[in-house]
């Protein structure tokens, strides 16, 4: 086998990818795992750099403990090639994958591909959400957990979902102040979530650990409140929040201003489908699983028999689901190569059952913490939707009014989604805006490679080699 050919390539070294790699490492296969970050572990397993002495967060979930162990094992494994700092540019016909590393592109070939590219946060835009000092919840976590840096002394958190509490806990542990948590959903709307937690006692423990810290620090938590705007000359200085009335409108009297230099927002998660879509596998829409997801069978094989998908891209469901699916996809792949004995085959059946529980939790989570569509419909005209190209709600609304309710039309008509992030931030927002007008979620826009910005010289070299090999 040539140097750049692998039996299996795994894209994404978060929990799902790591777990898949750890299963495959026990077999006589040539495996590569590729990740964009400088460190293994994806978002959930972030830790401080090795040369820092970590005295920050003592509490670790069982999934996290196992994940960190997997990273150590993988680093010492000889039959798994690790590509860090490596951004996938596209998966191409002929079972090959192009990626960029330190400004240079490389081409590698696979027999089987496992895609575990995780999820990113999604947003509900408001005036000023594009000011410096408005962070995603994830960005605050990255600063704290990977850098040991508190992005501001005082932070306001807003959006929806349990991630708010995890980030609040981490800020408090780091010695910061949480000036308030503004959860969009009302408390009683969240009762159904407790049912979802029953199958995962670990999550319940996690919730108590976070809440104890938050409550004992007297952090104000408001349910059924939302951010209305962020203001400041060149960065955030103050925000306005308000209580949502029964009709969905904000109650005028409730509106209050809060001084803050950092507002962190997050409104749930959406799967990172770009690598999978560049590989041409089928996607389906399931609102209860986070929107558009990769369509797989119960063994996580996609519409292409050589491509498996696991983790958040088959349904947003958190670390436990990713852990289960990482293992399941790797075992199913091994089974397709006739490499599994009976105990391995039995394990697959067990994991399929476990996955069903995880999916149940996932559906509960995504349903309880979904943002009502009328909030998207009622975004003010001047609010920026596409941050890269500076496209306002007014333009998006115009496009929806005059043209087909289609992501491609909105994109070509407005330029929204044509910037550097390639629609990763505004895409899910525009999808919800269209859905709020038309009642149906549009298909994502046509996928074009490169799926992340690359140097034109790298592409030129790639296509020249392609032509040569034909």
């Amino acid at each position: 086998m040539k140097g750049n050919q692998y039996d299996v390539i795994i894209v994404g070294a978060g929990i799902a990818g790591l777990k898949a790699a750890s299963v495959l490492a026990k077999y006589d296969l040539k495996v590569a795992i590729i990740d964009e970050n400088p460190f293994l572990g994806g978002q959930y397993l972030r830790t401080l750099p090795e040369n820092f002495k970590n005295k920050l967060l003592k509490f670790k979930t069982s999934v996290k403990k196992e994940g960190l162990k997997l990273i150590d094992e993988l680093k010492n494994s000889t039959n798994i090639k690790i590509f860090r700092n490596s951004t996938v540019v596209g998966v191409y016909e002929g079972d090959k994958l192009l990626f960029d590393r330190e400004g240079k592109s490389e081409l590698i070939y696979y027999k089987k591909l496992i895609i575990s590219t995780g999820a990113r946060e999604k947003y509900l835009p408001f005036p000023g959400w594009d000011l410096p000092g408005v962070f995603s919840l994830g960005a605050v976590q990255v600063f704290l957990k990977s850098n040991g840096i508190l992005p501001a002394e005082e932070i306001v958190l807003a959006g929806t979902g349990p991630f708010l509490y995890a980030v609040a806990y981490e800020i408090l542990k780091a010695g910061g102040k949480v000036k308030g948590i503004y959860e969009l959903k009302r408390f009683k709307e969240q009762i159904a979530f407790s049912k979802g937690l029953l199958d995962f006692p670990g999550k319940l423990i996690e919730a108590f650990v976070y809440l104890e810290e938050i409550l004992s620090n007297h952090v104000p938590i408001k349910y059924g409140w939302r951010v209305l705007k962020a203001e400041g000359d060149d960065s955030v200085r103050r925000i306005s929040v308000g209580k949502i009335g029964k009709d969905g409108e904000v109650i005028e009297k409730s509106i209050k201003n809060i001084k803050t230099e950092l507002l962190a927002i997050g409104f749930g998660f959406v799967p990172n489908l770009e690598v999978a879509r560049s590989a041409g596998v089928n996607i389906i829409y399931d609102e209860t699983l986070g929107g558009w997801i990769v369509n797989t069978d119960e063994r996580l094989m996609s519409s292409n028999k050589n491509i498996y998908a696991c983790g958040e891209i088959t349904g947003v469901g958190g670390a436990e689901k990713s852990q289960i699916e990482g293992e399941l996809s790797a075992l199913a792949l091994l089974d397709s190569l006739n490499l599994l004995d009976n105990s391995g085959k039995n394990k697959i059946q067990k994991l399929i059952k476990k996955r069903k529980k995880a999916i149940k939790y996932s559906k509960c989570f995504n349903t309880v913490f979904s943002v009502p569509l009328e909030f998207y419909k009622n975004i003010e005209d001047d609010t920026v939707i596409c941050r890269c190209e500076n496209i306002s709600m007014k333009k998006i609304r115009e496009a929806i009014e005059i043209g087909p309710s289609d992501m491609n039309f909105v994109k070509t008509f407005t330029r929204a989604g044509m910037g550097n992030c390639q629609g990763r931030i505004c895409g899910p927002i525009i999808e919800n805006i269209i859905k709020s007008f038309e009642g149906k979620s549009p298909h994502p826009p046509t996928m074009r490679k490169p799926i992340k910005p690359t140097l034109i010289g790298n592409l030129k070299k790639f296509y020249e080699e392609e032509i040569k090999s034909d």
């Binding site: 400088p38 995603s136 994830g138 960005a139 976590q141 600063f143 780091a174 500076n390």
Partner: protein, 92 residues
Amino acid sequence: MKRIKGIERKEQVEIIVNGKRISAYRGETLAAALWAAGFKRFGGKALKGRYNSPFCGMGVCFECLVTVNGVPNIRSCMTLVEDGMEVEFDEG
């Protein structure tokens, strides 16, 4: 913004930001080190009427792009600091 107390950091490095020397620690991302040093505006004003700044923190939004050692459009959130690294962007 501050470096959290109680963490022992080793290997201090120096980066050069728009000609000024800034200290940071090995292992930190460039975006975090810049933010900790008080930089909030990462260009963009002339084009869009507002400043870019770190937003997603994990390589998705491309709003923390800077020039590193002469190479433009580098995501500072995905780049680790290195001693002597030269960083440029329009502070406005």
